[in-house]
Symmetry: D2
Subunit: 328 residues, 4 copies
């Protein structure tokens, strides 16, 4: 039984807490959150100890692993300290700082690119890898959020490419391995406060893979019909594609239209619920068997490199060439 | 160039007139309708001669073939007379009278079971015949009209099974060959005037094929979302199925629902437009090459036998066994 | 925390054991199975006590409720004894004996018609009840197993209508309330050993609801493409329909065909996994709040009445009229 | 009755000949082709006169209109001469030369961007214009040919963007009106002879519309599953999308996969058969009523401007800004 500490008892922290409770070989031992009532609530639900002292988790030798689900600005410090404390780590967001600090520590670090663990996306990637569509030529990723985050979030998000497209960059790398060129176009079509924050709310990004593949990412901060998450992998021998998911398989036909499906699953907590559990299971197996989790720390950095290249391309109107960044 | 005479310049007569005009090897020569303006209108559109004298068509040796698209009560007389006049015949409705009269005449008679010529249904039947789903075990036919016919039509229609299900009975025979048992259940769920006419407006019919197959027909005189025409052929190795057709392939996704297709094609003139042209082409080829058209006169009678068995079963609540009726 | 005893550590017993473990307010306390290793295995997995003494469960006042997942012949005795012992009961199969024995006991009895708790079927039924398609006119239920049970099972199954169609009869009652007429046609198209056991392997059943609705059930013991579980609810204003479920939403397009979905979920444990958990939750809420679970004992008997009527109709070729049987 | 002359009796010329024959108010009077047997064959089929003298068509005052379906290099001369001869003109390919020559002639010129007349694409555009999805934000066009043209064709095609993407550029303008920015990325993934000709066989193009909309075009010269022609129009209130078309609506479910649709319609003659007829009808109505056809000469030039911008962008890796080019 692996004993976990959880940093952060917010929305995503609760998802991980539930996964830990449901996993047969993990236990949520301790929950840190600076807001006492939040830590208490989550801890009580799963029989764990609440704390407002992050050090208590790091110092406890009975804690095998931590999940960093606290606000993004805290990630670098918590990841560094956790690595130094010898904990296995699942960090929700990719990080491009502190690489030097953790380099010699041999820490087990996993980055929360949960979509790799979605059964459908994973199946497509396996089938592409197995040659079912021949050589992969084009990868099309559609990724639209149901509604824009509030102004306060946008202001500190790091921008669309780092905050939202980052998952699509990782998905591109999941299929293509390395990426060599980035070209991005952004637009402000939705909310004035996004433009005022110096960010875009809509974007098209074109990538070229190291194997010559073309990849296209379509983003929007708003989608009237739910969380739009689709992939098309097009190859010499055919295409594998993934549509959106609905809560039920009901279809309505009436005088106004036929075969109407329900609205799509609303957002990532619904759409990727299975993926979060599978992600945790991967980490557990890696810890148990001494393996290196994937996506690891380097994969997080590689995606951030693409995000920064996209930001630059959108500003300059030029293709940005990137170096292979490692990772898996 | 085959020269055709047309009996009846109504809705379905106009469909055949258009098919004759578009076919490269036929010519619409003469149009009969007791309503002068109707005959005139259709004749003018296609450069034919209008007439109110049906005999003129039968007596003209330059007329090779006739299409009987006049009201149903006139069919027996027109078919008999046309056969005696040596014309090839396409009769819109199946007939169970006058078999004796035409027996020795060697007439080329085709019955207007146009659905056999629908490219989609024909493809399914060919694929079943080619063994793609192994032995056929179950055949499910859904057939719903968009809206009930008016009371006057219902009163003289011969009843749901003879008027509407008749096409489904033919479709059953198209797949199964002969049918040995009929079981039917009717209901009045739609319009009081249908019950008042002693007819049902909804029905479920179960057939057993000579090869042991089970067949299910679902009927309704009303369907809010258009003309509902579907088939499932289920066999030992799989299933071939046919969905409804829409005018365009557009889908709408919005906050209220996703992937909404347009309403289905409204009724048989739209849904089976291609089938009418293919039906005519089959007759033309048969005339040109001296072949026997299928479905022929005997197929019409065989379907009527099933309709009468269904009527009896719905009344008595008992399975009705039927003799093989021939046809193709 | 409700403490449960489990009778039967086989395939379906394990499903319930897992649901009990995952439910936040239940605990699997004790597992009975005459096969020691089976009881031990399941008990160990969830920290429960294994036993070969069924009486031990009934006699233990700390056990609030039992799940009867043992072989069908044991159900009557276990249900009666459990009711007498004052336990709340979830019985996997419907029972038509022992009604007298349990009548005065005020026992909380739930029958394992799990499909009522499938989110998709439940959604359709709610939407029909909310009037979304107007008056319900026709209900079509397709239910095909992936492969026939072995000869030994078939021999003691009670026949297709009691063993397999029983779930469809309950689904019909879920939508229609009471049923007044049953008409059934069976066939032997699949395995000779089914005919040799005096049973059919394929069937079409027509029901008439108390409100005049028509209902059609299509059954087969074999389906090449997986577990075929579909429903169409057709009404005056439209249709709600449910398609099959696949493990992923991937589609393949290639030279041989396009938009190929994966095979459907293989069988009931996969297709109705969510339903089993929701079923248990319903029982838990009923116990906690002193409510009567639905489907209850009377619903089980009502479905068995329909099964027997179908058996008789298939033999005699006649409609069988049934009395309203109560239940919910 | 409008009398047409046809330049070119090849594949596309025959499509127009058939449309002219089927249209109730047009007549194919004369067919020019330098290959005598081709002109003769098409002329005979529709009762027209064959000729090897293009001047004969231009000089004949009884010819109201011409269709230029000859090889692309002949278009400029034929269009100029036809305009000078006062004929109404449907020219298969867009032209950016001879604008000066025809400027003062007030000629009725239509360009063969037939996709605007596809009922499905036209319906989407109308619905977008009617505000059904709110403000249009993103337009995604997928356009893949079933197989690359032979080396000889590629060598003289003018390149992917002028030869193939040109239709997608027109479709972008059909929805967006003017385009202000072009960014393109090409790749060689299919056939070496395409790279050897200095052309690309795969491409991603990003456009920005004058209203700020983002538009994405995905191209490939090869598609294993047929002619891939899809559009997604994404707006503030939802999305309208168009899938591919198949010859029948049959679906196959078997052990290897479920719901397999047939391969898509093979190429443009099949997919856009209806569009060619509707295109001709538009020209006929314009001639009859003295209206200006759309897409007109200026629309052809505007699309070519985008093609050249894409070519430049693909070479330089930079966004190319374009001036509004007029047209409709």
């Amino acid at each position: 039984m692996l004993r976990f500490g959880l940093f952060g008892a917010g929305r995503i922290g609760r998802v991980h807490a539930a996964s830990l409770a449901a996993h047969p070989r993990t236990e949520l031992a301790i929950v840190y959150d600076p807001i006492e009532v939040a830590a208490h609530e989550v801890a009580t639900l799963y029989g764990a100890t609440p704390t407002q002292d992050a050090e208590a988790i790091l110092a406890d030798p009975a804690i095998d692993a931590v999940i960093i689900a606290s606000p993004t600005p805290t990630h670098v410090d918590l990841l560094t300290a956790s690595a130094q404390a010898g904990k296995a780590i699942l960090c929700e967001k990719p990080i491009d700082a502190c690489a030097e600090e953790i380099k010699g520590l041999n820490a087990t670090v996993m980055v929360g690119f949960n979509r790799r663990f979605d059964p459908t996306f994973a199946a497509v990637r396996d089938r592409v890898a197995n040659g079912e569509i021949g050589r992969l030529e084009q990868l099309l990723i559609t990724s639209r959020d149901p509604a824009p985050a509030p102004a306060a979030y946008i202001a500190s998000s790091g921008g669309l490419f780092r905050d939202m497209t980052i998952h699509d960059f990782d998905m591109a790398r999941f299929f293509l391995g390395e990426v060599t060129e980035v070209q991005a176009t952004g637009a402000n079509l939705i909310e004035p406060y996004i433009a005022e924050a110096g960010d875009v709310d809509s974007a098209l990004v074109t990538l070229r893979g190291a194997g010559g593949e073309l990849c296209q990412i379509t983003n929007s901060r708003r989608c009237a019909f739910g969380y739009d998450q689709r992939i098309e992998a097009f190859g010499a021998a055919g295409m594998l594609s993934v549509g959106n998911h609905t809560a039920t398989s009901v279809r309505l036909s009436g005088a106004a239209g036929t075969e109407t499906a329900p609205p799509y699953l609303n957002f990532f907590l619904d759409r990727y619920a299975t993926a979060y559990a599978a992600e945790l299971d991967h980490l557990v197996v890696c810890i148990e068997q001494g393996l290196t989790p994937s996506p690891g720390f380097a994969d997080g950095r590689a995606a951030l490199v693409l995000a920064d290249a996209a930001t630059e391309s959108a500003k300059t109107g030029r293709v940005v060439r990137v170096e292979a960044a490692g990772g898996s």
